[in-house]
Amino acid sequence: MLNILLNIFSVVSIQSYIILSAVLFSIGVLGVLFRRNAIIIFMSVEMMLNAVNLLLVAFSVYHNDANGQVFVFFVMAVAAAEVAVGLAILVTIFRNLHSIDIDELKNLKW
């Protein structure tokens, strides 16, 4: 059954994947710069990570090399750990300031 699967790169060029990943990464950057809600900023960072993951998988399949996909696996693991700690920090900030607006986080000490 696997033998009849089409090689996607005979239909979609690798350039399309590069452009798509660049656009998705830029949307993530836009979210980080545009919003004041710290949770939305976290979500935008996740979007950037996913854009990079997509490009890694595309090149891994393109070059017939499994290392890229293993690396994506590690990126997902690190992203999960980062989100757990980051949201814990946000909960602590919210408990102290009653807001997670990043423009109010100007002081290192209060």
Partner: protein, 168 residues
């Protein structure tokens, strides 16, 4: 056929990404982000990477999004109370990210179109193949990621524990 699926998934991903950034209500943002992750999963399936597609679905949609959603509910932020940044900062953000996108595309457009490798291996992305690479070549980083998870778990518990107020 595959080309249309690619463009459909790409359009879905870009649309839901924009809606994630521009939704006023944080809960709507999270739901659009779930659609974004589904689009990425579709791309993985299109690239014949079944294992990563399932891992992406379980880790991101199943775990991380639930974590985000429960945090939003915990903070009671499901109203549209957020104030916008000043107009200058918003215009600056749009211009900066647009320029970044232009520069990235312009750089990668100049890359030479590489020829297709002669033999494409349909068994590349199977769990068997990836598992053997992961547990032979990358055994040490794999075990080390358990230390990362342990430390992040301890950190999350420590941070979200309520501090006792000490009388001075």
């Amino acid at each position: 056929m595959e080309l249309y699926i690619f463009y459909l998934l790409a359009a879905l991903g870009i649309f839901s990404g924009f809606m994630t950034v521009f939704s006023r209500n944080p809960v709507h943002s999270i739901l659009y982000l779930v659609i974004f992750f589904f689009a990425i999963t579709g791309h993985y399936l299109l690239l014949n990477a079944q294992f990563l597609a399932m891992v992406n679905l379980i880790v991101y949609v199943g775990a991380i999004m639930v974590l985000f959603l429960s945090t939003i509910m915990l903070m009671n932020l499901n109203q549209e109370t957020e104030q916008h940044k000043p107009a200058l900062a918003r215009i600056g953000a749009v211009v900066a990210s647009g320029l970044l996108m232009l520069v990235l595309i312009a750089i990668f457009k100049r890359a030479d179109n590489m020829p297709l490798p002669p033999d494409t291996n349909p068994m590349l992305s199977t769990v068997k193949n990836l598992g053997s690479v992961l547990l032979n070549q990358y055994l040490f980083p794999f075990e080390f990621s358990s230390v990362l998870f342990l430390s992040s778990m301890i950190g999350a518990v420590l941070l979200s524990k309520k501090e006792k107020v000490e009388a001075r």
